[in-house]
């Protein structure tokens, strides 16, 4: 991570309509709390000292998933130039959780903010070779222009927030 990448990441996120909040492991819970609209679902977070609060349902049924207002997952890395987060979906359910809720909260370690696509593809390729089944480069909320005007939130979330863990 460089301070420059982080600054670029923040401004790119802003351009694609994504709010970015910075926090640390210690401040995580209090940072997350106001971002959660009930009902919230989540997938376990892989960061030391960071976990999902009780109020977040980490084992939702199909119906609970579809009814969720907020979905919290980790994102493997960020891409500063584009304001993208890479969602690495696996058995823990990152993919459905990040996709079905109205709002997706993606938690990214500051260390994992990469400057550009070149760097991102080096990581992606290594991950795929090591068995990552899916990596979604997600940039902003889902969107469509098919119904005559741009609408945010087509099949996927209409809102995305990035929580940046600074002490990583």
């Amino acid at each position: 991570m460089s301070a420059e990448s982080i600054a670029t990441f923040e401004s790119s996120l802003d351009e694609v309509g994504v709010e970015c909040v910075r926090t640390t492991a210690g401040g995580f819970e209090s940072t997350l709390a106001p971002l959660l609209d009930d009902p919230a679902v989540g997938a376990p977070l892989p960061f030391d000292g960071v976990s999902l609060p009780e109020s977040v349902n980490a084992d939702p049924t199909v119906a609970e998933l579809e009814a969720a207002a907020t979905g919290v997952t980790a994102a493997g890395y960020g891409i500063a130039d584009y304001g993208s987060v890479v969602i690495q979906g696996g058995a823990a359910g990152e993919e459905p959780v990040s996709l079905y809720a109205d709002e997706h909260v993606a938690v990214v370690g500051a260390d994992d903010v990469l400057p550009d696509m070149d760097a991102a593809f080096d990581r992606l390729a290594a991950d795929v070779r090591e068995g990552a089944g899916q990596s979604i480069i997600a940039t902003g909320p889902s969107a469509t222009a098919d119904m005559g005007a741009l609408v945010k939130g087509a099949h996927g979330p209409m809102d995305v927030t990035v929580v940046l863990l600074e002490d990583r």
């Binding site: 199909v62 696996g90 795929v128 899916q134 889902s142």
Partner: protein
């Protein structure tokens, strides 16, 4: 084409202009402008395009090997690869896999190509398109009109009416937001209940067996996640060597298509994936997922062996060529025809996968303007593919010789060529005759009875004014007059290329060019070189174009051999020298001519940069000018020279930014396309009749642009070189 067919075609186009034109125009222009903005932000746009092209060239070259590699990789992951020969083969396999279950699909043109929905439905399966645009088309029972935004031709109101009619909801959705929510909910149920998810693949990586899917809605992700069988359908050409190779495409594809820096989702799946799937109530482990990659040949391997069509396989189906096409902008994909694909590159695809008949009709809508060439992220020469397919279609026809036209058109192409094509393809001969018999020929051509014969037999629209031939050609005028600059004392010695229009019709711009060059101390010669081959080429008459090119080269060879520059007035002819001659002349000749030829205003710019005296030319004195460059001139990046020279000379220049003037050349004369040509031209006319431009002197570089502007404006336009001619007002 018979008069009746022409009439029907004209009617069809008029109808589309009325019903779909506005929606298509609005959308494609937003995409197109977005593309200019988004690609301008890239520091290394050209490098990325070169990289993308190189990856595709290499991949297609090594395709059989890569197909083996990807098969191994997918099988090692636990999936299956099926290599389908054609549509029927693919459908048979997919039908077996789906086995009557419910399938949800994300958008895939390849699956449209094989019409898999019909096959599955015939087998009793339910199939739902989940891409919102495809869903609209599915319930409207219509074909896509655009490869990226298939329902681009439908307005919000039409979609609202359609939903109301089909679903009869209590509270009918109206706004774009409501319509989206409604469709999302309706399709959400289908996705939850489906057993099979079908997707396409924008790219398939051979090394890891991964699929890259470029989407914005998120439906492809849902189709894969919610179901436990995934069938991905892709043309074999989608295979690229490695995951790293995706990078330039990821940066280019969204920008090129819809003008987004990147789409919301670029999904890289390496199936079968372990993401949880939907059980009846709970999320269940995705470990048991079944994955089938169906790689479809359907003519592609033959395209690969075809030196002319091979490039089509580099296409990443981004739609930039369609969005930047003025004709497409005005009338959309349904006018372009074809069974599946539409727009510029569709000719190559249709000819390759469905055969030439499918390509024949809409291939006509490409005028060869070349605006798409620089917009294509993999640098495909789309106009050339159109020309080649046109040539093949011409040759495929039985020769029904009409000896009268045959006599008038001593060309190299076989007798089967359509008479109308033949007429326009032999413009040189026509112009020579027209000039020899002028003004009588002009009078005859303009008279009512002759016009209606022309319209009936050759489809020359009687609403379009015909060119008026000059009695004295430019070459003759110059031969009489001689050069006015002593060759030994001259700053430069050049040959001015007399294109057929300048030579016989618009001689005034040729004379102006001679005088302007001479004022700058240049010794000019005007050799009697014939038509460049542009006219036959645009009718797909490649053999005739080649013999024209050889003739032109012979006439210009002495100048080129003496290392003199060739100055060209007509941009479409300069483009011939710089682009198409590569395919028509021996390499050495092509390179020599290319290296020595310049557009006239570019040349003037160069002279001034190298010390020629601007003061020798009349000053603009703040004269307000509205300038329309020319398609091919812009593709070659030559527009800035004209504006710079005019600026320096003291003119106040406003420029147009429409893609094209509406092609009043052979295209606009054809009765089947006249209405479209005028409709496209109006966009330019509108830019030159605003408060800011209405009183400006109009100048345009290309002949067809001049003709079009002449027809649509009350001011008479001229070539910009005439602004620099001291005798401008005393013709």
């Amino acid at each position: 084409m018979s008069a009746e067919n022409r009439r029907q075609k004209a009617e069809h186009i008029r109808n589309l202009l009325e019903t779909e034109g506005d929606s298509v125009q609005q959308n494609t222009r937003v995409f197109n402008e977005g593309r200019y903005e988004s690609t301008a932000k890239l520091d290394d746009y050209e490098r990325l395009k070169d990289e993308a092209r190189a990856i595709k060239e290499d991949a297609i070259e090594r395709l059989p090997e890569l197909v083996d590699e990807v098969t191994e990789a997918v099988e090692a992951n636990g999936g299956t690869v099926y290599l389908a020969d054609d549509a029927a083969d693919a459908n048979r396999y997919i039908t077996e896999v789906v086995d009557g279950r419910t399938a949800v699909k994300s958008k895939s043109m390849t699956s449209e190509e094989i019409e898999v929905n019909e096959a599955l439905e015939a087998d009793g399966a339910d199939v739902w398109e989940t891409d919102l645009a495809e869903f609209v088309l599915q319930i409207a029972d219509e074909a896509p009109s655009h490869i990226v935004a298939p329902a681009i031709h439908k307005s919000r109101e039409e979609i609202a009416d359609l939903f109301e009619e089909v679903f009869d909801p209590e509270d009918p959705p109206e706004t774009a937001e409501e319509l989206t929510r409604f469709a999302r909910e309706h399709l959400g149920e289908k996705i939850r209940d489906a057993d099979v998810g079908m997707t396409g693949a924008n790219f398939v990586t051979a090394d890891t067996g991964s699929l890259a899917l470029v989407t914005s809605e998120g439906n492809a992700r849902k189709c894969v996640q919610a179901t436990d069988t995934h069938v991905a359908v892709a043309g074999v050409e989608k295979v690229i060597p490695s995951v790293e190779d995706l990078q330039p495409f990821v940066e280019l594809i969204g920008r090129s298509g819809t003008g987004q820096d990147i789409t919301s989702y670029v999904s890289l799946f390496t199936p079968p994936t372990d993401s949880p799937t939907f059980g009846d109530e709970a999320l269940e482990s995705g470990d048991g997922r079944d994955f089938h990659l169906v790689l479809i040949d359907n003519g592609r391997m033959e395209m690969r062996d075809d030196d002319q069509l091979r490039e089509t396989l580099y296409c990443i189906r981004c739609s930039a060529c369609a969005n930047s096409c003025a004709n497409f902008q005005h009338v959309g994909g349904h006018a372009f025809g074809g069974e599946t694909y539409s727009g510029g590159i569709a000719t190559g695809w249709e000819a390759g996968v469905h055969g030439e008949d499918s390509a024949a009709e809409f291939n006509d809508l490409c005028t060869g303007c070349s605006r798409c060439v620089n917009q294509c992220p993999v640098k495909i020469d789309i106009p050339w593919i159109n020309t080649v397919v046109r040539d093949r279609i011409n040759r495929g026809k039985d020769g029904d010789l009409d000896f009268l036209v045959e006599g008038l058109t001593p060309d190299e192409d076989p007798g089967g060529v359509d008479l109308q094509k033949r007429l326009f393809g032999n413009f040189d001969t026509l112009a020579k005759l027209g000039s020899a018999f002028a003004p009588l020929s002009n009078w005859v051509a303009g008279a009512g009875p002759a016009r209606s014969v022309l319209e009936r037999t050759l489809g020359v629209d009687s609403r379009r004014e015909l060119p008026e031939f000059e009695r004295e050609s430019l070459v003759d005028w110059f031969a009489d007059r001689g050069s006015r600059v002593d060759p030994d004392a001259a700053r430069e010695r050049v040959a001015l290329y007399p294109d057929a229009y300048t030579n016989y019709v618009r001689t005034e711009r040729g004379k102006a060019a001679v005088r302007v060059l001479e004022a700058l101390d240049v010794h000019v010669d005007v050799p009697a070189a014939g038509e460049s081959g542009r006219a036959p080429l645009s009718q797909g008459m490649v053999a005739t174009a080649r013999s024209n090119a050889e003739g032109v080269y012979d006439a210009l060879a002495p100048a080129v051999a003496a290392d003199r520059d060739v100055v060209v007035i007509e941009p479409s002819d300069l483009a011939m020298f710089h682009r198409e001659y590569e395919r028509l002349l021996p390499t050495e000749e092509y390179e020599a001519l290319r290296g020595n030829s310049y557009e006239v205003m570019e040349y003037v710019y160069g002279l001034l940069e190298n010390g020629a005296d601007l003061g020798a030319l009349p000053g603009g004195d703040g004269e307000r000018v509205a300038y329309h460059s020319h398609c091919q001139q812009r593709t070659l990046d030559l527009e800035p020279y004209t504006t710079a020279v005019l600026d320096d000379a003291g003119f106040d220049v406003a420029t147009s930014d429409v893609e094209c003037c509406g092609m009043a050349g052979s295209f606009g004369y054809k009765s089947e396309y006249y209405d479209l040509s005028v409709d496209v031209g109006e966009t330019l006319a509108d830019q030159f009749t605003t408060d800011e431009t209405a009183d400006r002197t109009v100048v345009a570089s290309g002949t067809s642009c001049l003709e079009q502007l002449d027809a649509l404006l009350t001011r008479r336009p001229a070539h910009p070189v005439r602004l620099l001619d001291a005798r401008r007002d005393r013709r």
